[in-house]
């Protein structure tokens, strides 16, 4: 989305911001001390998880203009004019994204709390490196903590998804 002005003013502590979420243009009213994580959850994007709230766990990962970032560290008003992607924008239960399929097939999901963030970080990796090495996968996912499965199956899932995506491109 293109920004038209270079300044927003708050009214009674609230900013009106325009952004795109999962390809749909939205207007949000956000508090001046609210973070993007809370604003997205308040507007129904519950896949964006609140874990540590300090930028350490990666549960709140969203794609901001295509790059995985921590929604808990971004003031909500600073998302004005941005394109946000959450896991809701990737696939559905009936038509899952190849990454979502691969995570299920690899048994990489237990409680599931960290998985939306992990899938979005993986998507960014596969967009940039369609055939990533194991070291690249580990590096890209180093900010997404899982306290259930460990990381072996998630790395396997990303490799599986890379193969699925490669096949779908052929």
């Amino acid at each position: 989305m293109k920004k038209e002005n270079t300044r927003l003013e708050a009214l009674n502590g609230m900013f009106g911001i325009e952004l795109s979420v999962n390809g749909v243009k939205k207007t949000f009213k956000v508090k001046n001390d609210e973070f993007l994580l809370d604003a997205l959850r308040r507007h129904g994007y519950k896949s964006v998880k609140k874990g540590c709230d300090t930028g350490d766990c990666g549960s709140c990962t969203v794609l901001l203009d295509g790059k995985p970032v921590l929604a808990c560290l971004i003031p909500a008003f600073a998302a004005h004019g941005s394109d946000i992607t959450s896991v809701e924008g990737l696939g559905t239960v009936r038509a899952p994204h190849p990454l979502q399929e691969a995570f299920v097939e690899a048994g990489a999901v237990q409680c599931g709390f960290c998985i939306p963030g992990m899938i979005l970080a993986s998507k960014s990796l596969l967009d940039a490196h369609p055939d990533p090495s194991e070291d690249e996968i580990k590096k890209y996912l180093d900010g997404n903590l899982c306290r259930c499965t460990g990381y072996v199956k998630q790395i396997k899932a990303v490799k599986m998804a890379a193969k699925k995506l490669k096949r779908s491109r052929q």
């Binding site: 927003l8 930028g55 990962t61 180093d142």
Partner: protein, 275 residues
């Protein structure tokens, strides 16, 4: 953040500075925001976001390497030009910062403007004799990186002036360099030690050495005695011992503590053995 009344996203450094110096609304400039978002003072009224400034470049100017202040850690980590400079030490250092999610957001300018002792780049830039280009109300000027942290330096980056870019001098291109971050985990933000080491070699002799440290004191510092112990000597066990002893005495003076002193000495010895 509760008093923020304006969110500004200027497109030129001049416009950003004008907002910063506007005394009607206390302002702060933020680039990645990873170090500041959770700790903004309640007095801030104008939040100036630098993400639209054209300062994300990494390029050669003349024979120097120039990195714009809003270049992210990820961009520095993955830049071919940066990887080809000084043994790729700036890329290696960028890759050691926290996690990929942070590296996607955090910027070079933010890392040197916010005075956390454990920040990655200050020790590296100090050791590389970097210059910093600032924009303040008196105009643009370039200062040595060491000046930025000098007691009595009158400008506060991000409050009174903007950091435009960092200049890495041409003489460092072929230096043999190393960077070590010693922390609780690889992804820990708060390192116990950051150590930059460099040697300019000529015919097997160390012509010039650089050793700089962060996280051991409020500001990064150069270990001049250890550098002197290495300069002009052919590397040998005795030279390594002398440098390590000099470093230890400097760390005693900096009150680094026994554990950190021992760890830093081991890291330096390890680097010297790889040259």
């Amino acid at each position: 953040m509760k008093n923020i009344g304006y969110y500004s996203f200027p497109e030129t450094p001049k416009a950003a500075l004008a907002g910063l110096l506007d005394r009607k609304a206390e302002a702060i400039v933020v680039a990645g925001g990873t170090l500041t978002a959770k700790t903004l003072p309640d007095t801030i009224v104008n939040y100036i976001d630098l993400k639209n400034l054209p300062l994300g470049y990494i390029k050669k100017r003349g024979r120097d390497l120039v990195i714009g202040s809003t270049a992210t850690f990820d961009e520095i980590d993955n830049s071919k030009l940066v990887k080809s400079w000084a043994g790729g030490v700036l890329s290696a250092a960028a890759a050691r910062c926290s996690s990929q999610l942070i590296r996607n957001m955090a910027t070079l300018g933010g890392n040197i403007a916010r005075p956390h002792s454990f920040n990655i780049f200050p020790a590296v830039l100090l050791g590389l004799d970097a210059g910093v280009r600032l924009l303040s109300k008196t105009g643009v000027r370039t200062i040595p990186f060491s000046e930025l942290y000098r007691a009595g330096f009158s400008l506060r980056p991000g409050r009174d002036c903007l950091i435009l870019e960092v200049i890495i001098p041409a003489k460092t291109k072929n230096w043999v360099c190393g960077f070590e971050k010693f922390a609780k985990t690889e992804a820990s933000w708060e390192a116990y030690i950051t150590l930059f080491m460099a040697a300019e070699m000529k015919n097997g002799v160390i012509k010039e050495a650089r050793i700089s440290l962060g996280a051991l004191s409020p500001k990064p510092f150069r270990a001049f005695a250890a550098e002197k112990a290495l300069s002009g000597v052919k590397l040998s066990d005795a030279a390594v011992k002398a440098a390590v002893a000099a470093l230890k005495s400097e760390l005693d003076a900096a009150r680094a503590g026994e554990f950190k002193k021992a760890a830093a000495a081991r890291l330096l010895a390890g680097f010297l053995q790889t040259i």
